[in-house]
């Protein structure tokens, strides 16, 4: 009885017009293919020396050789280890502080004037200081990575906590919950999904600092391998390193997204 007819032909370029799943995959693939082809053409055009700007295939080969012959996996794991340890330390500092600052304005009034400007202190400029204070070992690298994110984490977790709706707190109060209990069972729980999101987003910042941390006095890690490659003008290996960091970053991002689904099923369920 009902005729299916779309009287207007809608152009693809309609404001906020959703794109079908298939078209989305198609466009995503074609953008990558265009990018790779463009890269290849440019690199093999002879305009720039291939040593300085190797085509994608050379980079993938270099990557393969790194893993197959130069035990790159050990370096990758070392870098991942540094990221995880440093991020764990940063969370251990930022989570309680951010929660308290977000919950009690009086705590924020004390710490915020200190923490907020610290975000503007460029972590890389601490390298010489950290080297002198802590030496050339892992401590120096890990502290650098912590310094790179911890101020942002504190501020953002504070924001997440402040965004918890006052009504939830007041409801818990009228139900007879104590202040401590509200902090744990309401404020923390309510802010948690956003905090996990914050942690996911800031992890990207940690990855960008990794190379800086591993440039100096590094004997292993992805950054160290890239520095070595630089010395011998192995641009293909440098690009392979960049690629690996990019892929690792995306993997961690995906892992944390999955964790979000796992931890907060209630946010991802449809209405019935």
């Amino acid at each position: 009885m009902i005729q299916l007819a779309e009287p207007r032909v809608l152009s693809g370029f309609d404001i906020k017009k959703p794109v079908s799943r298939q078209l989305q995959v198609l466009l995503g693939l074609s953008s990558w293919i265009l990018f790779l082809v463009g890269w290849h053409v440019l690199a093999t055009s002879g305009q720039i020396s291939e040593q300085l700007f190797p085509p994608p295939l050379t980079v993938f080969t270099a990557l393969w050789i790194l893993f197959a012959e130069q035990d790159f996996l050990a370096d990758v794991l070392q870098s991942v280890f540094r990221i995880l340890i440093s991020y764990g330390i940063a969370i251990t500092i930022a989570l309680p502080l951010g929660l308290l600052m977000g919950t009690f304005p009086i705590v924020a009034a004390f710490f915020n004037p200190l923490v907020s400007p610290f975000r503007y202190l460029p972590a890389p400029s601490f390298i010489p200081l950290l080297l002198m204070w802590l030496g050339t070992g892992d401590e120096q690298k890990i502290v650098l990575l912590v310094l790179g994110v911890v101020w942002f984490l504190i501020t953002l977790i504070m924001d997440n906590t402040q965004a918890v709706r006052m009504e939830l707190v007041e409801t818990a109060k009228t139900l007879g919950a104590s202040k401590r209990s509200i902090l744990g069972t309401v404020i923390f729980r309510a802010a948690l999904p956003n905090i996990v999101d914050t942690l996911r987003q800031m992890l990207a910042v940690s990855w960008t600092y990794l190379v800086i941390a591993e440039i100096v006095a590094a004997t292993n890690g992805i950054g160290a391998v890239m520095m070595r490659a630089k010395r011998f003008v192995h641009v293909d290996e440098i690009m392979a390193g960049i690629l690996v960091i990019g892929v690792l970053g995306l993997l961690f991002d995906t892992a944390l997204r999955l964790l979000h689904w796992q931890l907060f099923p209630y946010l991802h369920q449809a209405k019935n």
Partner: protein, 337 residues
Amino acid sequence: SSQTSGNSGASGGVEKKETVKVSLFSWPGYGFWFIAKEKNLVPELDLDISIIEDPYESFNLMSSGQLDATSSTVEYGPIAVDKDVPVKLVSYTNPSYGTDRIILSPQIKDPSELKGKKVAVLEGGLTQIYMGIWLEENGVNFKDVEFTNVIMDDAVAAMLSGEVAAGEFWEPFGTQVLEGLEGARAVTSSSEDFWIKTALLGDGMYMSESLLNDRPEAAKLLMKAYFEAVTFWKENPEEGNKIIAEGLKFDVKDVENVIGADGEIYKGGIAVFDLEEASKFMGLAEGEPPLGMKNGQIRDHWDLTSEWWMKFGLVEEKAEPEAGIAFEPMKSLLAEQ
């Protein structure tokens, strides 16, 4: 701190080793530390070796107590004295014998064309003096070129990008530039007589004052470790080169390009001094060092570098060699032999 220096040869039980932190930038000429460690040539010491590409980073770490010794080019003594950095030269370890070359980019046909152009050097490094003298020899005042301050890693990149017109390179970086930049050419090499006579281009070993003053025994043992490694290498050049290549993550070929494959003085690379040759150069033993250098030439070297640092404005007034050179470790090592 665990100072258990000197009770070597103790029987049976597990020895407590004394840790000494050494650094180098990745270059085959400094790789002997890896042999000393790998072969455990001085069992009393535990060598903690790190690779730090910027020698100044190493000097900083030495002054902050994070590092005890480093191998680097041999020009830093006067600067350390002038800037009050608690680091002293303890030995000249080798002259350069062809590894150091000045390379011009393809566009530069004549040194005079360098006026107003950018030239890659490490400020406060030997390369700056090398370049300065070479420019003067070719009738260009060093003030007429623009020095761009880069470490060797970045110097290669800067040269390849075509952005600097000249630079000083040691192996294997010189070859990389020549291969990567068509038309580039080397205009002078450290194996030329002019440079050998001055002994200007060479490497040395530096120790921190805290090591020298607080742990003299460890300082001596450290120097011993280095020269034992040289001895080992002279006897087993193939194995020695392999250890160095692994330590630096270089190709063995690149190592051979610098220190040769047979444990002898290698033209085109460097002339590695053993303890005897080094002590003659330092004026602590009788006789002449090889390549026509003279006994105790380190003092002339000191004067030459001091002079140039004053020209470059890095040193305000000339100091006596004794202020920047510590002879004690070598003296006590020689006394032991």
